[in-house]
């Protein structure tokens, strides 16, 4: 029943990270605060994907699929971002 213990450990880690993200938000990190919050969220998502969704012991193809969506979303946001943040006000 190690599998079950693993699930409990994972959930505990997720709750700990939830508290951590709240603690980090209480501290004024300036522009970094969003980065920190998203980084913690990324770790939490990775935990869920790897343990709850069994990707850790899944074939490589599943790793690719699990990463692919996020990669593509990053691509979409990055390229739109590249437009919006580099528009000269008047062009």
């Amino acid at each position: 029943m190690t599998g079950r213990l693993g699930y409990f450990a994972c959930a505990a880690a997720l709750l700990a990270l939830l508290v951590a993200t709240v603690a980090a938000a209480r501290v004024d990190l300036g522009p970094l605060s969003t980065t920190v919050a998203l980084a913690i969220a990324g770790v939490k998502a990775a935990l869920v994907i790897l343990y709850f969704m069994h990707v850790r012991r899944g074939p490589r193809l599943i790793w690719l699929y699990a990463a692919g969506g996020f990669l593509w979303l990053a691509l979409l946001i990055t390229l739109v971002w590249a437009d919006v943040t580099t528009r000269a006000p008047n062009l």
Binding site: A88, P89, N90, L91
Partner: protein, 300 residues
Amino acid sequence: MAGAVDGLFWFLAALSAALSVLIFGLLIAFAIRYRRRAPGERAGVARIPLGLELAWTFIPLGIVLAIFGWGAELFIRQLTPPPGAMTVYALGRQWMWEVQHLGGRREINELHVPTGRPVRLIMTSEDVIHSFFVPAFRVKRDVLPGRYTTLWFDAVRAGEYHLFCAEYCGTKHSAMIGRIVALPPEAFGTWLARDEGDAGQPLATAGERLFGALSCTTCHGRDDTRGPSLNGLFGRAVRLRDGSVTTADEGYLRESILQPAAKVSAGFRDEMPPYQGRLSELQVLQLIAYIQTLGAAAPP
């Protein structure tokens, strides 16, 4: 500019023609030479050397990169108005073009310009997206609601040219057309000075009056008081509260009038009321024209 655009166009046309002839020629030649002569005929063994595969991968890559550079260089030139360009404002609206000259003359679906002097348009839309397109000058730029876009051209020869709306904008999209009338400089001067019943006050004068009527002077005075002084502001670099630096061009002024909270100058509080919904696009243009004149009078 039109000549430079055509240069690239005809280069690409020639390149396309050459490549098409090559490919079609090979297709036809191979098809005839290797046509099936007997029903059961088999194909021959032909090895394509890897070098050939790589050649038709990397040679086209080089060619397209060169075209990219050419097109990009051209694009930058098309977006950068030469110094000394004459500024004209254009408003797009379903389904007409309204043009406002600095001196106060207003035109509908027509734009008079002098030959030999670059003209820079500052454009915005009051409703949907339009696009200002003059095929003869090879210029086109979308006209968006809620922000300014610009475009410049240089009418070399006097004459009349088509003006089209190129971005679909509703029922009478294809009727949102007009003409550009390019006049020799003297004739243009005469035209500009004439009043055909459309001339209002010069934009800056109207702007000054509006500036007073809206009590802008309460905060924006000769010196930085409650709000930053606007003297000599236009075209200058402005430091913002969040530490970034922007240029005080038309787009910045427009945004700062309508949505002052978006970019607050360093050292000031965000307390100016937003004028979005309270000023027409024309009134904003008048204020901007007035603020530009403040530059000249400013002490160094």
